[in-house]
Each structure stands twice: as structure tokens, then as C-alpha cells.
């Protein structure tokens, strides 16, 4: 894999975007309050660093806990659906329906039903992340090669042994695919949750700064939220490579 040209190209693209952004923001016809330039955003990042960090931790906590709930609940449901056909048939439509619910509308209802605290945010993050994880784990479990299942039968393995020793490991790469998707949408979930009602968090800070016409601070918050999502995605990718090295070896072979 030629890593260097890829990194160089990505850096170049980022630089071009930043330059264009700076160029547009510097135009006389563009009001400073509508569009902050990269330079102003950078200044806000350093001036408001501790304020931003305090709120970033809150959001990160919501995201990580929500993700954890989604991983556990999604994996358990997927395994249950895999082992028990009636549950699979019954739960699949509900699973799809859960994705049709517009989260933006659901968020304020959750906040109303619970409170301003952590609860509703976790629920929303988990609800968004739950679907990709469940669907991918289920898919991974079901696509275990039939030959391997036959082999396990010939070795006299029990249903549970086959699940533990063959189906679950075989589904691990699919799980990580789901986790990557979940990681990249989890931050959006936390922001929706905070917009519906919160007294701390990056999403709330961005909304507040926007209302108070502190545009550079709002931009700084958005940059941090983006970095958070990208970092989570990267972590899921690294975990995938560390825990499923065979997946890449096989693809190469």
C-alpha cells in the first residue's frame, strides 16, 4: 500500500478547502458574523480552549456511553435473532421501523419524558447506533460459510460451541463494519440530544454561540465535533485491524 502519496493528497485537499474557505470569508461582501474564517476559528479554539474542552468531555461521555449501550444491546439482540428464527421474523420489521423514526423529532420528546440530564442523550445516541450494529452482526453471523457449520457438526460440536468457536469470530469483521458506521453517526445523535435540551455539552455550546452571534466559537465547536467523530471512526478501524488481522490477509491472498 502506498501510504505516502495518499497522505500527501489528503493533506493537499484539506489545504485547498481551508484556503477556499479563508478566501470566501475574507471577501468584503461576506459579513464576519455569518461566516468565520479558518483563522478566526483557530483563534477561538485557543481563546476558548478550556470552555470548549469542558463541554467536549460531556459530549464525549454521552457518545461513548451511548455507543457502549448500543454495542451490548445490538450484539445481544443479533445473537438472539440468529439463534431463534421466530424472533428474527418478528424483530426485523421493528428494527427497520426504528430507523424510520426521525430522531430530530424524537429528541425533544425524550427530553420531556426524562429530564435535562444524561439519560435522554444516551437513549438517542444508542437508538441511532443500535441499528447498524445489530444488522451487521446478524448479517455476519448468518453468512458463516455452510462448510464450516458442517465441519463443526462432524466434530460433534453443540449449538453453543459452534456459535462461540465459529460463528461469533466469523462475524467479528462485520461487527466492526457496523461499529464504524455507528461511530460516525453517534456524535450527531449526541448533538440532537443536546439541542433538545441540555445545560452542557459541545452541541449546546455551538447552538448558544450561534444565537449569541459568536460565530468563531460555534465554528470551533463544530471542528471539535467533527474531529471527535473522525477519531472514533479511526479507533474502530484500528481495533478492527488489531483484532481481525486474518480478514486483511485473506483479502490479499
Amino acid at each position: 500500500m502506498r501510504t505516502f502519496p495518499r497522505v500527501a493528497l489528503a493533506t493537499l485537499l484539506l489545504a485547498l478547502v481551508l484556503a477556499a474557505w479563508q478566501g470566501v470569508a475574507s471577501l468584503d461582501s461576506v459579513d464576519d458574523l455569518t461566516l468565520a474564517s479558518p483563522a478566526e476559528t483557530a483563534t477561538a479554539l485557543s481563546d476558548d480552549w478550556s470552555l470548549l474542552m469542558d463541554n467536549a468531555w460531556v459530549t464525549l461521555e454521552e457518545v461513548l456511553l451511548g455507543l457502549a449501550i448500543a454495542v451490548v444491546a445490538g450484539a445481544v439482540l443479533a445473537v438472539a435473532m440468529h439463534l431463534w428464527q421466530p424472533l428474527r421474523d418478528a424483530a426485523y420489521p421493528l428494527l427497520i421501523a426504528s430507523q424510520a423514526i426521525p430522531i430530530v423529532v424524537l429528541a425533544p420528546i425524550f427530553v420531556l419524558a426524562f429530564d435535562y440530564g444524561m439519560g435522554p442523550k444516551l437513549a438517542i445516541v444508542a437508538l441511532i447506533c443500535f441499528f447498524p450494529i445489530t444488522v451487521n452482526v446478524l448479517d455476519g453471523l448468518r453468512s458463516t460459510p455452510a462448510e464450516l457449520l458442517k465441519l463443526m457438526r462432524s466434530l460433534g460440536a453443540s449449538r453453543l460451541q459452534t456459535l462461540r468457536k465459529v460463528e461469533l469470530p466469523a462475524a467479528l469483521p462485520s461487527f466492526f463494519t457496523g461499529l464504524r458506521v455507528a461511530a460516525s453517526v453517534s456524535v450527531i445523535g449526541a448533538v440532537f440530544g443536546e439541542w433538545a435540551g441540555a445545560d452542557e455539552g459541545l452541541g449546546r455550546l455551538v447552538l448558544l454561540a450561534n444565537n449569541q452571534l459568536q460565530t468563531p466559537r460555534a465554528y470551533a465547536g463544530i471542528v471539535l465535533l467533527t474531529l471527535m467523530a473522525v477519531a472514533l471512526f479511526a479507533l474502530a478501524t484500528i481495533a478492527d485491524r488489531l483484532l481481525c488481522p486474518w480478514n486483511r490477509e485473506e483479502a490479499k491472498a
Binding site: S154, G156, K165
Partner: protein, 260 residues
């Protein structure tokens, strides 16, 4: 003893018991069972005997082994097997996330042994299988011959008396195949088992077996049985110079050519 549900009520067994007995076996596949893989197949394997089954590809050899292994049921006829079977599938089917030792140990884990004990017992045999130093290697790091030996070890570890081998050397290059054939012949001489060996290589069949059954093209049934009255184990380079061996190979090839 293991009798498949379709087997008729057991009559008193003859004195010389067959370990494996197939009578009038039929197996169909496809929508509305239009593909007849096997029809009217009769086959017996005695205890301690090595029987090789040869036949053109697609004639139902793998199906035959899966029937004997109890992984499929016949649509007609009966399959009865005395003693537990150890089935080695056509592809090595090593788990890519386990190392070589873990793959061999899988068979013991399925019998309820703990992971560590299973690895220990499998590890004790690694040197004898020519796998020393490769315990921690992943399947992708092993050569074809070594992968096959790991699969062999996995098949043999549970100590089941009846071996069912599906083209065990089919995927190997000819040099590796020759050395693996020699290795299997030696292993069977050291520790006799009842073996049903499927292959599409007539020379391999005559080299390794006491008896060779030739199958017809699909639907497969036994069209000829050849007795190989030569002492085992046989070495390939000796056998190739033995007129009796060459004659048997020629006869088997003739039967195959007529059937095709």
C-alpha cells in the same frame, strides 16, 4: 453404534461385520429433486480395511462421504456405520483466526476438553505430523501440505475408528502430494483404521487402498471393484515399477473410460 433413521430393522449381523454398509442408496438434489447424485449404490467396508472410491468429478463422491458421516440422509436405501466417524472435508477449512495448534485442538474442544488441555494434547503430536515449530503459525502462513497435515491432525485427534477422507491431496502440487501419500500410508501402517478414501486420482487409489471401488458418472453407483493384493504400505517409486500395480491402474482407468 450409529444407525441412520432410514436403516431397516436390524437383522442379526453376519460373523464378519462390515464397519460401513450402504445398500441401494439414492440421493437427490435440486428443486423437485431432479438432480440424482447417487442411485442404487451398494458398498461395504470391512473393519481395518482401506477402501478407495474413484470416479469422475461430480459423480457423487463427496455426497457419499457425507452420507456415511451422517451429515446427510439418503432419499432411499440404508446407510449403517459401526463406530464413530472422523470426516475430513475436501477443503482444509482451517479457521483463519486460530493458529495451527488451535485449529487442530478444535476437534478436542468440541468433545468438551478445555482450551488449554486441548492445545496441550494436540501439541504433543505436532512433531510427528511434521509441524514442529509451526504451532503458532496462522493458516495463511502455512504451505498447502502443512495446512493439510493440520486438517489431518484435527480429523485424527478425537480417535474415532472410521476415517472418511474426501480427496485429501487434491489441492496439492504433485511433489507434495507424493510425500503426503507416503506419509499417510506410513501413518495407517503404524495405526490401522478403517478408511473410506475418496479421490479422482486412480494411481493414488491403487497406491493407498486394499480395494478400489469405481463409480459411474452421475448418478453414481459402483461399476467395478478391484482387489489390490499388494502389501501395504507401498512406496510410489517401488509401485510404479511393479507390473501388478501398473496393471491394476490400467484396469481401473479402463472401467472409468467405459463409464464416461
Amino acid at each position: 453404534m450409529q444407525v441412520h433413521p432410514e436403516a431397516p430393522v436390524q437383522e442379526p449381523r453376519p460373523v464378519q461385520r462390515s464397519e460401513i454398509a450402504l445398500d441401494g442408496v439414492e440421493r437427490r438434489f435440486g428443486r423437485r429433486s431432479t438432480v440424482v447424485a447417487l442411485r442404487g449404490l451398494d458398498l461395504r467396508v470391512e473393519a481395518g480395511e482401506v477402501l478407495a472410491v474413484v470416479g469422475p468429478s461430480g459423480c457423487g463422491k463427496s455426497t457419499l462421504l457425507e452420507l456415511v458421516a451422517g451429515l446427510q440422509q439418503p432419499d432411499a436405501g440404508s446407510v449403517s456405520v459401526t463406530g464413530a466417524t472422523a470426516y475430513m472435508p475436501q477443503r482444509d477449512l482451517l479457521l483463519p483466526w486460530r493458529d495451527a495448534l488451535g485449529n487442530a485442538a478444535l476437534a478436542l474442544e468440541c468433545q468438551g476438553l478445555g482450551r488449554r488441555d486441548a492445545r496441550e494434547r494436540a501439541g504433543a503430536l505436532f512433531a510427528r505430523f511434521g509441524l514442529a515449530e509451526f504451532e503458532r503459525a496462522r493458516p495463511s502462513e502455512l504451505s498447502g501440505g502443512m495446512r493439510q497435515r493440520v486438517a489431518f491432525l484435527r480429523t485424527l485427534l478425537p480417535g474415532r475408528p472410521v476415517l472418511l477422507l474426501d480427496e485429501p491431496f487434491g489441492a496439492l502440487d504433485s511433489i507434495t502430494r507424493t510425500s503426503m501419500q507416503g506419509w499417510l500410508a506410513g501413518a495407517l501402517a503404524a495405526e490401522p483404521r478403517t478408511v473410506l478414501l475418496v479421490t479422482h486420482d486412480v494411481e493414488e487409489a491403487v497406491l493407498l487402498a486394499d480395494r478400489v471401488a469405481v463409480l459411474s458418472p452421475r448418478p453414481g453407483r459402483v461399476v467395478a471393484e478391484l482387489d489390490v493384493r499388494l502389501a501395504r504400505p507401498r512406496r510410489r517409486r517401488d509401485a510404479l515399477g511393479d507390473p501388478a500395480f501398473v496393471e491394476l491402474v490400467r484396469r481401473a482407468l479402463d472401467v472409468l473410460a467405459v463409464g464416461a
